[in-house]
């Protein structure tokens, strides 16, 4: 245990050295002043909350879109399977930024939808659908055919089987990849700035440009995103550990 923490501290020290080296060699280091961002604190905090909201809402809705895509992929009708598969190819083949721009300028605007935030969340919910579908497929496959036979011969009804046997197992399997998807959404949410959503990246970018505090701004961005993602990664590892026994 002690040995492990020494290794951890050494690894941290290595990154500390790297930060020191960057700070030392930065040409404008005499003017470096994080405190000048302080007055913009409430605005930045608000945008941080908005980013969190966008991410959680996108995760929530992507579970629905993912479920619909999952149903399409296991449908007996080839038509639905093809609809799902084509959508998968579109998403897997297009960069998120292009998908967001296309959703907003080519679909939402012509349809008269101007709420950038909602369009952003919708774009994410659709973009994440194939990833969510994969998570669901993996979770369903984690329950082997023998269990379904046991459910049958023990006389459980379908709803009892889902309530007491299938869903509790799926939830355990689904959590770590779900959190992985959430961190992906959080990081990707910065791309909503291209359609003018005032999320964290957009706000800090604007503030740093106004105050000419580029290094300080990017450093703050870096830290604020990590403040969201690191606890989530830790939570995911904790759940994985809990589930593995």
């Amino acid at each position: 245990m002690i040995k492990k923490s020494i290794h951890f501290l050494l690894a941290l020290a290595l990154y500390g050295l790297l930060v020191f080296f960057i700070a030392y060699s930065y040409p404008g280091k005499e003017n470096f002043d994080m405190t000048r961002l302080w007055p913009a604190g409430p605005e930045i905090f608000q945008s941080w909350l908005l980013t969190l909201y966008i991410s959680l809402a996108s995760l929530f809705f992507s579970m629905f879109t993912g479920f619909v895509l999952y149903l399409a992929s296991v449908s007996k009708l080839p038509f639905f399977r093809y609809v799902g598969r084509i959508f998968d190819e579109i998403v897997f083949g297009s960069p998120l930024i292009v998908f967001i721009i296309a959703m907003y300028y080519f679909i939402a605007i012509p349809m008269g939808i101007n709420n950038r935030l909602n369009v952003g969340i919708l774009a994410f919910s659709l973009y994440m659908a194939p990833y969510m579908k994969s998570v669901l497929l993996g979770a369903m496959e984690s329950i082997d055919a023998n269990q379904y036979q046991a459910i049958q011969v023990l006389g459980f009804s379908k709803s009892q089987a889902y309530r007491y046997i299938i869903i509790p197992q799926i939830l355990k399997v689904i959590f770590p990849p779900l959190i992985g998807n959430l961190t992906f959404i959080i990081k990707g949410s910065s791309l909503l700035s291209v359609i003018g959503v005032k999320e964290l990246y957009f706000q800090i970018d604007r503030i740093q440009a106004n105050l000419l505090l580029y290094v300080e701004g990017y450093l703050l961005m870096f830290v604020t995103y990590l403040l969201m993602t690191i606890p989530l990664v830790a939570l995911s590892r904790w759940i994985e550990k809990k589930v593995s026994v």
Binding site: A150, Q152, L154, G155, F156, Y164, Q169
Partner: protein, 239 residues
Amino acid sequence: MKINLNNINHSYHGKAILQDISLKLEHAEAIAIIGPSGAGKSTLLRLMSKIENPDAGEIFVNDIDVVLTEAKDYYKKVGFVFQSHNLFPHLTALRNITLVLEKVHNKTPQEATKLAIDLLTQFELVEHMNKKPIQLSGGQAQRVSIIRSLAINPEVMFLDEPTSALDPILTREVLRTILKLREKNMRFVIVTHELGFAKKVADYILYMEDGRIVEHGPTSILENPKTESLKEFVEFVME
């Protein structure tokens, strides 16, 4: 136990697995189905336990029309034990038993727990009741699965090669449990490769080959087989 099979035919992907099987038994208590691999033993058991329905023919178990009876009604009266234990991995041994009792057989949680603990005690598994299946040995898990089946007090139990996934030591453990079922006068049909065990536990033998029942009768047919194929099979297995 009464078993009545009328002209059962069954196939998978066009390949005939069971061919025109008919059988009428009135008073068998413990039936062992034996025979070489691919003879159709497990398929016959799966049809009798309604895991599948036959392509053609009628099956009656204790006068219940297995094909026509609703699955949920049939499974209130019969139990099934698979080759692998098939316990639910997220539940403890105890909960694997009580869940069925509470949700399917409408017992109160107190009744279900009492019954499950009684059985686990009788079968010397009570100290493992709070373990998840992954924490049990293969033999212990299979025994819990037998108890789960037994707990509903079925009219008949079907056991499909319950020791095939186990090593010889764990096999003995499970076979002892099945002998205990017999002592409790539980009626069952078992598919097994353990000929010695079949002799010990069963009072009736079905010998199958190539999707047909080639010979059947009381356990003594293993000592004095009438057909050449059963004779060869017994000699081969006992070698």
